[in-house]
């Protein structure tokens, strides 16, 4: 069994933040777990899925976050302890239910885990979801380290049941994808009654429009609960106030920023030198404790990862009390950059400034720094060697070349294939201000024109095509993977089909949700708990939606893929091509790694680099010899490079 599920209170071990959150749910006796994979939140669900069978609860990866939060809230209304997890962007997908849920509250403990990504390591935006919890008027906790992540997740279920309200647990990359020592607590064995009462404590409790007062009345009910939330925050052990009498300065921090502050104070040997307020219960924040900090110090530094939410609250409290204090952070008079994630260097420099102490690190001699910069070339993100998307993109690149001057927009989406819009970092791009301009596509990493969020590509393709008019030479394409297809493309698919938008939609079906670490998709024939399920048929879904042109082609058969894409693009009306090829890493995992046979006959190679243009990391090129090569450590014998070589220099014997 995964160590996270061990019934060993007192055991101390290394846990990733996400594992710690899952452990908190296990200790609370979670009954239903649900989510949609999204970095950096995924491992919370992976661990729960792994443990569900052993510990006797239910876990599913839902089709998207909106479904996940609906499944979760349904479970919680019956009284079941439930955890739902998603990434920052996932909360946007779940927003409708999320923003409405506090109007009824819940009966069973419901913990909504959202992992933000300051620095946007894995995300389309840096959005801070704490203000979104505030907007929904839902209590929000934010842990400072892995131990607290476990403790908060555990405690959040009790809080949720006491207040009959979902609890928002905000994490960030540096918490979720960082590890620390965690001491396990007891696993709660008490069984709770799961049942149904439609008038639970209020008439028509679970109908927001319900009598007697409707939704506005429900909003009033929620407002009346605020003092209860605030009282919980005031007494919460997750808020730590230390007043140092006589110190004119103070530091207020939340989440992982608290850990950076503690590191800074330790390094500067200034622990206990100023008043501090560590806030773990971030919405509503503990107003009385904040007022005490305002009374104690004249200058207050606020350190938080994201928006200046606590900083602005502190300013509001100061203003209400008629206090003139210097409150600095990321808001007006920012001393910390207003974008990108916090880091220990940034925090130690502002803390040192606040305390009036010197801090500097060893400066690298100018010459060495210049040389080091010169040697540090980029390492661009690339698709894996033998990835089926390389085949799909090679086919699409051939079709783009064939259509030459005809306008061809390729809309991307979110998944491994989004790397088709990353470019190659070392390549120099010169933007122009023309309204229309064609650019050559030299590698799969520059094939996509747009990448926004899950499901946006196909809808944007419809808009582009409508705006460009009915000229047949204006070709517009969208791509999406199998998991994304079911997650967010179905409504746009219906739209394109119903109104017969003249666009081509390519579904890159590799049978798994790969980018987040190979969670099952509706194509995988397995669920998150390891059980067998049927695969959903993408072509049949398209046909049922009324799509007249639907083709399936093998992503590893370049000729077949090219022909299908070409035919679809020349078709007048909405066309769909499903390019199939299972994720090569999953195939290798199942079938084992074998010594590759593919190699280049250097005497035959003419150095045309058509194999290099596929963008496979296993295909190398020696600029001196002007010969291609195959890296035997990476190659998986997929055969794509063999198909593009014009002189048959790449062989497998």
């Amino acid at each position: 069994m995964n160590k996270v599920g061990k019934d060993e209170a007192g055991m101390k071990t290394l846990l990733m933040g996400n594992e710690a959150i899952a452990r908190g749910a296990v200790e609370a006796g979670v009954k239903v777990g649900v989510g949609y994979p999204g970095t950096p939140s995924t491992e919370v669900g992976e661990v729960l899925g792994d443990l569900a069978g052993d510990l006797g609860f239910y876990f599913e990866w839902s089709i998207n976050e909106k479904v996940a939060i609906d499944v979760a809230s349904g479970a919680a209304l019956t009284g079941a302890r439930t955890m739902v997890m998603m990434k920052n962007a996932g909360l946007n997908v779940a927003m409708d239910t999320f923003a409405t849920l506090p109007y009824t509250g819940v009966r069973g403990g419901l913990v909504i885990v959202v992992a933000d990504d300051p620095g946007a390591h894995y995300s389309s935006t840096e959005q801070d979801t704490r203000p979104i919890a505030q907007y929904a008027e839902m209590p929000c906790l934010e842990p400072k380290d892995q131990q607290q992540a476990k403790d908060m997740a555990r405690e959040a279920f009790d809080l949720s049941e006491r207040m009959e309200m979902p609890i928002f647990l905000r994490s960030v990359t540096r918490l979720s994808h960082a590890s620390g020592d965690v001491v396990f607590g007891e696993i709660e064995k008490a069984s709770r009654e799961v049942g149904w009462n439609k008038h639970f404590k209020l008439p028509f409790r679970w109908a927001v429009y319900g009598p007697p007062e409707g939704a506005a009345g429900r909003h009033g009910w929620l407002k009346k609960k605020y003092p209860e939330f605030l009282a919980e925050s005031e007494k919460s052990l997750f808020n730590n106030l230390q007043i140092v009498p006589g110190s004119p300065v103070a530091i207020v921090s939340s989440g992982v920023a608290t850990s950076y502050v503690n590191d800074a104070l330790t390094a500067l040997k200034k622990k206990g030198a100023c008043s501090i307020l560590e806030i773990g219960f971030v919405y509503p924040p503990p107003e009385e404790k904040m007022k005490k900090i305002l009374d104690a110090a004249d200058t207050i530094l606020v350190v938080e990862d994201g928006n200046p939410m606590l900083e602005n609250k502190l300013k509001e409290l100061a203003s209400d009390a008629g206090l003139h204090k210097k409150i600095i952070g990321r808001g007006s008079k920012a001393v910390i950059p207003t974008f990108n994630e916090l880091n220990p260097d940034l925090v130690i420099s502002v803390v040192a400034d606040l305390l009036g102490v010197e801090y500097s690190f060893a400066v690298v001699p100018e010459e060495t720094r210049k040389k080091a910069d010169e040697l540090t070339i980029p390492r661009s993100s690339a698709l894996c060697a033998g990835c089926p998307h390389l085949g799909s993109y090679a086919g699409l690149a051939r079709v783009i070349k064939k259509y030459g001057k005809e306008l061809l927009i390729v809309n991307g989406d979110i998944g491994c294939y989004e790397q088709g819009g990353y470019g190659v970092a070392a390549q120099v791009i010169t933007p122009t201000d023309n309204a229309t301009k064609k650019y050559p596509v030299a590698s799969p990493y520059e094939i996509l024109d747009t990448t926004y969020v899950m499901g946006s590509g196909i809808g944007q393709a419809i808009g582009e095509r409508r705006a460009l008019g009915d000229n047949a030479s204006k070709k517009v394409v969208a791509v999406a993977g199998d998991s994304t297809f079911f997650h967010a493309c179905l409504p746009a698919l219906a739209d394109a089909s119903l109104y017969n938008a003249d666009i081509t939609f390519l579904v890159l079906d590799n049978s798994w949700t790969c980018m987040t670490g190979h969670q099952p998709s509706p194509r995988s024939r397995v669920n998150a708990m390891g059980g067998e399920v049927p695969a959903l048929d993408i072509a049949a879904v398209c046909r049922a939606m009324g799509v007249k042109f639907v083709k399936v082609a093998d992503a590893y058969n370049l000729e077949e893929a090219t022909e299908a894409i070409d035919e679809a693009i020349s078709y007048q009306g909405f066309s769909v091509v499903i390019l199939t090829g299972e994720c090569v890493l999953q195939v290798l995992r199942r079938e084992g790694v074998v010594e590759p046979k593919t190699h280049v006959r250097e005497d035959v190679c003419i150095g045309c680099k058509q194999c290099v243009a596929i963008g496979c990391p296993a295909v190398t090129f020696d600029p001196e010899k002007k010969k291609a090569g195959i890296d035997p450590l990476l190659c998986v014998d997929c055969g794509l490079c063999i198909q593009v070589c014009p002189v048959n220099a790449i062989v497998t014997e």
Partner: protein, 199 residues
């Protein structure tokens, strides 16, 4: 003990695994520990670095120019991390075989000469030790144990002060039992290779 270590390389080389092993062992030896992972979205071939902090530590990230040990499983990544994090009196352990980025194969960049990387790192850190973990792992009979060879080399610095056996126990538990002996060999070979490299 108080120690900041960064293990860096390319996705698939096992640097995240190695960092978790080191931190788990540190905890078992009675310390507090943190690991901060930095890797891109792609599964394979991306740049990866993992910060391991042991002692009176709170946050998961090492400050600039304060890594006591940098374990570079790949030279370009060693350069990338070394230029920012190497402490002036710190140690860099360099595994020299390059893993070429797509920037190089597409002709947009030239891979920097490994000897120049080594020389530049000498200007940044107190000690640079070249340990060919890739070759040593292959000779031992398990090419995938390169990360364990490099972990052994890090132990060879003497800066990790808890008992070797604590690390070996965590390594044994982290892999299938059939790899126990090979990994132990890999670890000890790495430790020796470090000592040979600096002697």
């Amino acid at each position: 003990m108080e120690l900041d270590v960064i293990i860096c390389g390319v996705g698939g080389q096992g640097s995240v695994r190695a960092s978790h092993i080191l931190a788990e062992a540190a905890i078992n030896a009675g310390n507090r520990a943190r690991v901060g992972e930095t890797f891109g979205a792609a599964m394979r071939g991306g740049k990866v670095s993992s910060h391991v902090r042991i002692g009176d530590v709170y946050g998961p990230l090492v400050r600039e120019r304060s890594a006591d040990i940098i374990v570079a499983q790949e030279p370009l990544e060693g350069m990338r991390i070394g230029r920012k994090y190497a402490a002036p009196d710190g140690v860099v352990i360099l595994n020299p075989p390059p893993v070429y980025p797509v920037d190089v194969s597409t002709g947009n960049a030239v891979y920097p000469p490994v000897d120049e990387i080594e020389e530049t790192l000498r200007g940044l850190a107190g000690t640079v030790a070249v340990v060919n973990g890739t070759t040593i792992a292959r000779e031992i009979g398990n090419p995938r144990s390169m990360n364990i060879v490099m972990l052994g080399a890090a132990y060879g610095t003497g800066l990790i002060t808890f008992d070797r056996q604590i690390l070996l126990d965590v390594i044994a538990a982290a892999f299938k039992p059939k790899f126990k002996e090979l990994n132990e060999k890999a670890f000890l070979a790495g430790e020796k290779a470090y000592k040979d490299a600096v002697s």
